[in-house]
């Protein structure tokens, strides 16, 4: 009898056993170290001069902090331009995409029209198109529009990615139809239904979408590499990697640049942490 009760308690809480917890923590500590250590090592390299890079045993915390890399970064490279470009382009894409994707998602989730099925399945299938395979035709399209080496070359093509529509659609689908009907009966136009009802009610979905879009943009590499040749118009990722193509690689400089490049996205991450969860992305695709 007592045993049964004890067992049941255990069952209800479904608490992992001590060995499981121990193993879990060990694994997590290891993972955390592997995740964080590189950043520390890059930090340490960024405040070393090139000579001490090769010293043995490796010097983790340099005795003499060397700020030359940072000075050089700001004085001799277009680092500030790259940062501005990245943030500006990222924000532009995010804002535009949020608006057009939400509109499309509302249409697909709650409006009836001919061709809905075809449109939504075309958009969904397009998720499977490898974007890397489109860079050549895209390059020529953008060239013919006269947009090479402009911000537009990076902003406009990014708006074509349909993934976010499905994320937002899954949020809108879960809103009860009656709400929308009620607003319409209360005299609201479709645009008012969209802006006054749908948008506020899916705000968390919008933030998730925004965060993903910005992050994707922030780490984007191939397309900026193809579409932008003017050094000052470049984004951070490509800009920093171009520092490497000198004959003698200045590792300290690259480290300084890379480390600074993590700062904007880190700030965003800390501010909007809970929205970075990948959960919604999967539910959007499955739904």
């Amino acid at each position: 009898m007592w045993k049964l009760i004890g067992k049941q308690r255990n069952v209800v809480s479904l608490r992992p056993t001590p060995p499981v917890i121990t193993v879990s923590y060990s694994v997590l500590f290891l993972a955390a170290i592997v995740s964080i250590l590189p950043f520390l090592y890059i930090l340490s390299t960024s405040v070393k001069d090139t000579q001490s890079l090769f010293s043995y045993p490796p010097e983790w915390i340099p005795e003499q902090l060397f700020w030359g890399n940072y000075v050089k970064l700001f004085q001799e490279t277009s680092f500030l331009n790259w940062t501005f470009n990245t943030i500006f382009i990222g924000l532009s894409i995010t804002i535009l995409k949020l608006i057009i994707d939400a509109m499309a998602a509302y249409s697909l989730a709650k409006l009836q029209f001919i061709g809905k099925h075809i449109i939504s399945s075309t958009l969904l299938m397009a998720v499977a198109i490898p974007v890397a395979a489109l860079i050549i035709p895209l390059f020529f399209i953008v060239r013919d529009m006269g947009l090479l080496n402009t911000y537009w070359a990076l902003i406009l093509p990014a708006l074509a990615n349909p993934l976010g529509i499905f994320l937002l659609r899954s949020f809108i689908v879960s809103l009860p139809d009656e709400l929308i009907h009620s607003a319409r009966l209360d005299g609201a136009s479709e645009w008012r239904v969209f802006t006054q009802l749908i948008l506020p009610l899916i705000s968390s979905g919008l933030v998730v979408h925004a965060v993903f879009t910005f992050m994707l943009q922030y780490t984007n590499f191939l397309w900026p590499l193809v579409a932008i040749q003017t050094e000052t118009r470049q984004v951070l990722t490509v800009g920093i990697s171009s520092l490497k193509s000198n004959f003698v690689v200045d590792w300290g400089l690259i480290s300084a640049a890379s480390l600074l490049a993590t700062i904007p996205i880190t700030i965003l991450f800390i501010a909007l942490q809970r929205f970075f969860l990948a959960q919604s992305l999967s539910s959007a695709l499955k739904g």
Partner: protein, 284 residues
């Protein structure tokens, strides 16, 4: 049907961009495979010449194989590690959020960071590992300069960057599983291992299905880390299809041939994802 017009108006911006920057390139890609001409020079129709060349160019097959080889290395590893981390995260309370945050952090960063980190660890001259190796054995290992080690190293770089994303995805999957089933299983006396293999894994099948397809599509386009770390070398042992596409456009100035390669990539992606969907449907 009366609301047709509004519905189309709301869809217009998306369809516009979608059409111009995704469908249109897709269509022109097809026609470009029958053309030649440089980046700044006009295109000339050359018939099936590009296609004939892809069939005899050994590098095409090599890059396709490299790409697939890379996927076979990276995806299982990243999934297994992510699954282990997700399970671990699922069974801890204290520090749960902190660990989650830290593990996710690398995913946010440009691949550059990951590439740089591996450079610092593995570089022949100053990589930490090699500095130690040299001191002990006198023989440093040139990871990225070695034909058989280069691709696994690239895979490792991508795994380091990608693992956080998949961890959170799997964790979300695990946490959405019906709790009652676990209570029932525990009442039946199933231990943690049996619970994992008999409940968690089968129940996560939809998540895996989506994840594998998604990961395949993304990883078949591998480029950033290769471009930064090895630029396809040594001896094209890390040359991926996307890398070859990029080089045809910019180094060799042969966009027509690059388009043909792109088409090959599309076909590879379609075949592999179709096979995967098929395999998953079949077993259900």
């Amino acid at each position: 049907m009366r609301r047709n017009l509004t519905a189309y108006l709301f869809l217009t911006p998306v369809l516009l961009f979608f059409g111009v920057f995704l469908i249109w390139p897709g269509i022109t890609l097809f026609f470009q495979t029958f053309q030649t001409g440089g980046i700044m020079s006009p295109a000339i129709v050359v018939g099936t010449k590009n296609w004939e060349r892809t069939f005899i160019d050994p590098l095409v097959l090599k890059t396709v194989w490299n790409t697939i080889r890379y996927c076979l290395m990276a995806i299982p590893v990243v999934f297994i590690i992510a699954m282990v981390l997700a399970l671990a995260l699922n069974s801890v309370r204290i520090g749960h959020t902190a660990f989650k945050t830290i593990i996710y952090y690398p995913t946010l960063q440009p691949i550059l960071i990951a590439a740089l980190m591996f450079t610092f660890v593995l570089h022949q001259d100053f990589g930490v590992l090699n500095i130690i190796m040299r001191a002990i054995t006198g023989n440093p290992v040139n990871f990225l300069g070695n034909e058989s080690l280069a691709m696994p190293t690239i895979a490792l770089v991508e795994v380091w960057k990608g693992v956080g994303f998949w961890t959170l995805l799997f964790l979300a999957g695990i946490q959405n599983l019906p709790r009652d089933l676990y209570h029932a299983a525990e009442l039946d006396g199933a231990g943690p291992f049996r619970r994992f293999f008999q409940l968690t894994l089968p129940l996560l099948k939809p998540t895996f299905f989506f994840s594998i397809i998604f990961a395949t599509i993304v990883n078949l386009q591998v480029f950033d880390s290769i471009f930064i770390l090895t630029d396809g070398g040594p001896f094209h042992s890390t040359a991926s299809t996307t890398w070859y596409i990029y080089r045809s456009l910019f180094t060799f100035n042969e966009p027509g041939y690059g388009a043909t390669l792109s088409f090959v990539l599309v076909i590879v992606v379609l075949i592999l994802t179709a096979l995967q969907s098929f395999a998953f449907r079949d077993r259900n």
